[in-house]
Symmetry: C2
């Protein structure tokens, strides 16, 4: 069994590629819930949904986000009403949130609901919420304003200087059902090329999860999300400069060296390999851009073969 | 100013007809919230919405319920997911519920949100939730099962024998903002031809509202919802037999005689006029079926002219 620490799009592509090499039943994603939000009374889990939709083949390959064939009737009317329409929720996507929210109200666990949604969509890969306890990634701006994840990400388009990222609730949070078992028994743990500060850190901020991964350090491989010092998507590079160890492969190595023994970096960053090794990690240089199924597959082969 | 105690469709037609005779700014509906429900995390107010949509001219005249031009994308997907799809929520209607729920979460009052929705839809009539406190109409079946309003109404299509109707929370509830002022200052209070047991009773179950209407008994006119002993829509006749004073104009008079001085009954029930008067109410016989704008207008004229 292979366990993968997951954010959103990068993790979804990693899992999709891995599922061509490993039976999907033997793949377990441990998924960030620090971005989860309640909006309009609905519980929204962006990373769980992005991965589920992608593995189901429902991702919109034209826009790069959202569902294929999505419609926007509810959102158009909500905007007309003057409602909170800054967070785009397609009609089909909304059904997921209604379904999840109603089941949570009825007392079902997020992990059970996630399993039902995967089953409905015909996805055999397991996705486990990192925790079912309240967890919220928040940002303190350079101006000492506190922003929720979605305020930072969607409202401000992550174009605001950050002085600190906090994972509220992490110290009290316990791992979700199945998470510790997966991390203890996996042949290999992969840290997907998701944002280290806001996708992977919230998972590892749960003390027992961090401890479990540290215990498996020699079997843990991280994939750098940087290519030439830039994130392919999102603010990872900016945040690594602002609150991390710098937007370089070396900075990633300093971020992950206590929990992973190997770092996979992109070939354009090959010059950083000695610095990665000096930071205490083995370094593998390969193509990390998952822009085609073939390239994704090659990366997955490398990650499994380390 | 005219105050109208309101359930759903019958009240909406009454208000629409009254607004052709009285400036809409001088019409105030005090609306039942005993049917309100939280489903999928969303606060749904069926009577407030039915009236708002009808006064906005958005009611679907073909189906007799829901919005005109409505689509069902979310519900179709929710049904496919195996979710709770027994309560039909169209896409456009859902936007109302998302909007309301988010504003309630942000601390706005239901009365303010209702006013915003009316304003958005260009409706000048005022609608006031009878109360903003928790109120829930529940049913005890002949088999001693307790059903929520929507379980009784939507799931069982009100085809189950009832031994008691309870308005949970009523004793602790206080009138919503503006309600007592409207009832104290209205030239006339009209009890619309809504279901006495499950639309009007939950309004009057709030002690201060009942007291306020009792104080205005001589200015209060009720319209019977029965035509030939049958309700035009819904289970009023059945419930009047099961837990009320019988499905006749006399039964309605016994229901309302402490709070209204006049009962308007349909011409097919003219034979009951002496019994209504014996029960202590003045009786006006006219056509009460609001199936055309002209007939609705004539009824409104009668009700205002009493």
């Amino acid at each position: 069994m292979i366990a993968v620490l997951c954010g959103g799009v990068g993790a979804a592509r990693m899992l999709r590629a891995l599922s061509r090499l490993v039976p999907a039943e033997e793949l377990v994603g441990v998924v960030n819930v620090g971005d989860d939000l309640t909006l309009h009374g609905l519980r929204i889990c962006p990373d769980l949904d992005t991965i589920t939709y992608t593995l189901a083949g429902l991702d919109n390959t034209e826009t790069g986000w959202g569902l294929t064939g999505e419609t926007w009737r509810v959102m158009e009317e909500l905007r007309a009403l003057g409602g909170e329409a800054w967070f785009g929720l397609g009609d089909r996507d909304l059904a997921t949130h209604l379904y999840r929210t109603q089941r949570l109200i009825q007392g079902d666990r997020l992990s059970e609901i996630t399993a039902s949604l995967l089953h409905h969509h015909g996805v055999a890969t397991t996705l486990l919420p990192a925790t079912e306890d309240p967890l919220a990634t928040t940002f303190e701006t350079a101006d000492h304003e506190t922003l929720s994840f979605q305020e930072y990400f969607v409202r401000h388009h992550h174009a605001v200087a950050i002085r600190a990222v906090r994972i509220e609730g992490a110290q009290e949070a316990t791992p979700g059902p199945g998470v510790l078992e997966a991390l203890a028994t996996a042949e290999r743990i992969i840290i997907s090329p998701s944002n280290p500060i806001i996708s992977i850190a919230p998972i590892l901020a749960v003390p027992e999860i961090r401890e479990a991964v540290v215990n498996r350090r020699s079997d843990t491989v991280a994939v750098s999300p940087l290519v030439g010092g830039r994130a392919l998507k999102g603010p990872a590079d900016r945040l690594l400069e602002e609150v991390g160890h710098g937007a370089t492969a070396e900075g990633i190595a300093r971020t992950y060296r206590e929990i992973a023994s190997t770092l996979v970096i992109d070939q354009v960053d090959a010059e950083w390999a000695p610095a990665v090794e000096a930071a205490g990690m083995a370094c593998v240089v390969t193509g990390t851009v998952m822009d085609t199924p073939e390239r994704s597959l090659r990366l997955a082969e490398v990650v499994l073969g380390v």
